[in-house]
């Protein structure tokens, strides 16, 4: 049985359970016609169907085209998922071509029930799916060969896209494909044992690196269609503002301007400018004179919000976790207590490739090109705006340059804007571009959070009581995912990593407040773990220091025995850092952290000194337990780069702030991401050998790095770092 989440057209979630279904196949069938056929005559409640041909196409020239049911935006899934399928299929890897699948039912995440990259689920949720698809395809090819040679399938073996039979007979997959297509799809197949893997577990180079290095790879922003126009939108300076009136005389003087008009936004209204090219559109936008109506719009102000959040944190919120005695803390003497208050600012994602979406509306059909992490939701949104059914909207998944959550937006605001504009320009493809400034100022930030924690220390130096209040906007209130993630008035995406901590704290009481604030918020790579891991791991480290216990040993002592992944990573970290951990040069210090999220355990150790009043990270050693590492090279890359992304949190200018409703940063000059000087000089990644099911590696690298670095700083300066960004050391 698999959990399946259906997002119906009104945008509410209902959860149903369906048995995994049978398959139908013809290896040369066009994947698109298969998916269309499914949306048409097949009954709504039908069991989930994965026709192998929607995923695998064996071409007559021997090339094997594998559809990837995910967005590729640097994480390497476009290589790793085809590896999984090709391994079970015994396909010749040198002839595998990976393609990003369009939006279609067959490409929905088997667990989430929508097409998505999220929750670090791409490999975790599609590993078995892709193995079965590969194994079933292989079985059909073997059946075709066996019939041709009048032998039994078990007399045949396969290797590198060739079936070998008795008596030295052999046939290539390409030769067998059309016969194989007429074979029934086996209901059950035996999957390989780990010792039989040829690709899984090997360091396989990514398929797209060549094209990325020579610049030939096309991203969504590179799309150029016949007759295409480019649009930008002037958004209100305060979220939810509305256009009172505008003068476009000066704007329209710029050559190549085709249209200027008011459009509705997810919040408020704006003015769209359509031009032949991007630059005229952008220039024209700066010449627009817009009178904004900001009446009745809450002007959020981060200084005021901190005051409000701090006050809220002094009172208990809705209960997220309550183990043992909630008031145990009050019985612990003051000198055995730590009271800590933490501040985490709004953070923007700012992926390298600016947000964009291209739409062409043809009346009864539409076509969309978008680097989307959320194809199902975005396809529905475009359909709704255009008055179409989702299956009338062909949705191409474009290669994207980063995303970090920013391309999975529950209100699909970029796609809706693009659709509104395309509707007016019927028949003409329009590419909407959100510039970096639009993105930095446009909301959808990691929400700011305030934590207040009281820790009571027991006689053994371990925490005996822990009272923790978290204040921050809910990510999912008012979205289709509300019923899924919000229980008891607590949005679990705000408390994850604390309420479900793996540390054995006898009296743990975690509550949360979710104030409503007029700033759109969104998941930021690793979501609630970005702040919860920081709080937990800095406090645990403080306790270890106080108890004069080695930071790795302290964590091993405090973790619950069933926190197997974290215990294994700490053991590996202990070994991997033995050569340097206790032999650091003068002025350097060790920083340690560990955190499990999305079922992947990570332990981190850093060697840090202070240079130019900033942390200098000389080395980071990571130990990872992600079950089977499908592509260890890809896992290593994710962790090396993911900790670089995580350091965004520590940058001196790593915060989005608002004054009287206006965002104070505009671009990477005011909101500064990490540069080479900020990143570790070297990162070594150690993977725990495992035969367990693979778990995600997209988000788990992010939470560990910031606490590890400030834990090292604390050893150097004796100070505690509880407010981010890290303005001073």
């Amino acid at each position: 049985m698999a959990a399946r989440v259906e997002l119906n057209r009104r945008g509410f979630l209902r959860v149903s359970f369906v048995a995994a279904g049978g398959l139908f196949v013809s290896l040369y069938l066009d994947p698109k016609s298969v998916s269309v056929a499914q949306e048409g005559p097949m009954p709504q409640a039908a069991a989930k169907v994965y026709p192998p041909d929607a995923f695998v196409n064996i071409r007559p020239d021997g090339k094997i085209v594998i559809q990837v049911n995910r967005l590729e935006f640097g994480q390497g899934v476009q290589t790793s998922l085809p590896m999984v399928l090709a391994d079970e299929m015994d396909a010749d890897w040198s002839n595998v071509i990976a393609q990003l699948a369009p939006a279609a039912d067959v490409y929905k995440d088997p667990l989430f029930g929508i097409q998505i990259v999220g929750g670090s689920g791409s490999i975790a949720h599609s590993f078995t799916q892709y193995r079965e698809l590969g194994a079933k395809t292989r079985a059909m090819l073997v059946a075709a060969a066996a019939e041709r040679w009048a032998v039994t399938p078990n007399q045949c073996r396969t290797e590198a896209s060739v079936v070998h039979g008795p008596g030295g007979r052999s046939a290539t997959y390409a030769e067998l494909a059309s016969d194989a297509a007429r074979k029934p799809v086996p209901a059950k197949v035996n999957l390989k044992s780990a010792s039989e893997f040829r690709l899984i577990g090997k360091r396989v180079k990514r398929l797209d690196s060549g094209a990325k290095c020579n610049g030939s790879l096309k991203f969504g922003l590179d799309l150029d269609l016949e007759g295409m126009k480019v649009a930008v939108v002037a958004h209100p300076p305060v979220f939810g503002g509305r256009v009172k009136s505008f003068i476009d005389t000066e704007a329209r003087r710029i050559e190549g301007i085709r249209d200027v008009f008011e459009i509705p936004l997810a919040k408020g209204t704006g003015v769209a400018i359509v031009a032949d090219k991007f630059w005229p559109a952008k220039q024209a936008r700066s010449r627009l004179k817009i009178d904004w109506d900001l009446r009745g719009v809450e002007a959020a102000d981060t200084v005021e919000l901190w005051t409000r959040y701090k006050q809220l944190a002094g009172t208990p919120g809705n209960v997220a976790a309550s183990n043992g005695d909630a008031n145990a803390i009050d019985k612990i003497p003051a000198q055995k207590r730590i009271v800590a208050e933490y501040e985490f600012p709004f953070l923007a994602h700012t992926p390298m490739e600016p947000l964009n979406t291209t739409v062409r509306f043809d009346g009864d059909r539409a076509e969309v090109w978008a680097g989307s992490q959320f194809q199902t939701v975005d396809q529905m949104a475009v359909a709704e705006v255009l008055g179409l059914k989702p299956d009338q909207v062909t949705f191409h998944t474009e290669m994207a340059g980063g995303g970090f959550g920013r391309r999975a937006v529950t209100d699909s605001h970029v796609q809706r804007e693009a659709a509104v504009i395309a509707k007016r320009l019927r028949g003409t493809p329009v590419k909407l571009v959100w510039t970096r400034e639009d993105d930095v100022q446009g909301g959808y930030y990691r929400p700011m959070h305030f934590h207040r924690v009281e820790v009571g220390i027991g006689p053994n130096g371990l925490p005996l009581a822990w009272r923790h209040v978290i204040v921050g906007q809910s990510l999912l209130a008012g979205t289709p995912f509300e019923s899924f993630a919000i229980k008891n008035g607590v949005d679990s995406t705000a408390t994850e990593g604390t309420a479900d901590t793996h540390y054995n704290i006898p009296n743990l009481h975690v509550t949360a407040h979710h104030p409503r604030v007029n700033v759109p918020v969104l998941w930021w790579r690793s979501v609630g773990h970005t702040h919860n891991a920081f709080v937990m791991e800095t406090l645990i480290d403080e306790l270890a220091t106080r108890a004069r216990i080695d930071p790795i040993a302290y964590r091993q002592k405090l973790l619950k025995p069933d926190a197997k992944k974290l215990l294994r990573t700490l053991e590996l970290l202990d070994k991997a850092t033995a050569s340097w951990r206790n032999k650091l040069p003068k002025g350097h210090a060790l920083g340690v952290s560990c955190h499990e999220c999305f079922d992947t355990g990570v332990a981190c150790a850093v060697d840090v000194s202070i240079e130019n009043k900033r942390p200098k990270i000389h080395r980071a050693t990571l130990a990872v337990d992600c079950g089977i590492a499908v592509n260890p090279l890809s896992v290593e890359s994710q962790f090396q780069a993911g900790i670089g992304f995580g350091l965004t949190q520590l940058m001196a200018k790593g915060a989005i702030t608002l004054k009287n409703g206006f965002v104070e940063q505009r671009n990477w000059d005011g909101y500064v991401p990490p540069y080479i000087v900020d990143a570790p000089v070297a990162v070594d990644v150690h993977i725990v050998p495992s035969t367990e099911a693979p778990t995600g590696c997209g988000e788990p690298p992010v939470p560990v790095i910031s606490p590890a670095v400030v834990n090292a700083l604390s050893r150097l300066t004796g100070k505690r770092y509880r407010s981010l960004p890290l303005v001073t050391v």
Binding site: M352, Q640, G644, Y675, P680, V681
Partner: protein, 51 residues
């Protein structure tokens, strides 16, 4: 381009040289350790190749 300029001027760059030359290049993915490695690998290959 920054890396090529660095290697032309400094065939055997130190970590500090790399940091200074690449200091203005932003990699939003955060692959900086790999960029360092790539420059060092290229430096070795160029030296070996006798260029």
């Amino acid at each position: 381009m920054s890396a090529v300029a660095l290697l032309k001027a400094t065939p055997k760059p130190t970590e500090k040289n790399i940091e200074e030359s690449m200091g203005g290049n932003l990699c939003r993915c955060g692959t900086y350790p790999r960029i360092r490695e790539a420059i060092k690998t290229a430096a070795i290959q160029i030296t070996k190749g006798g260029a």
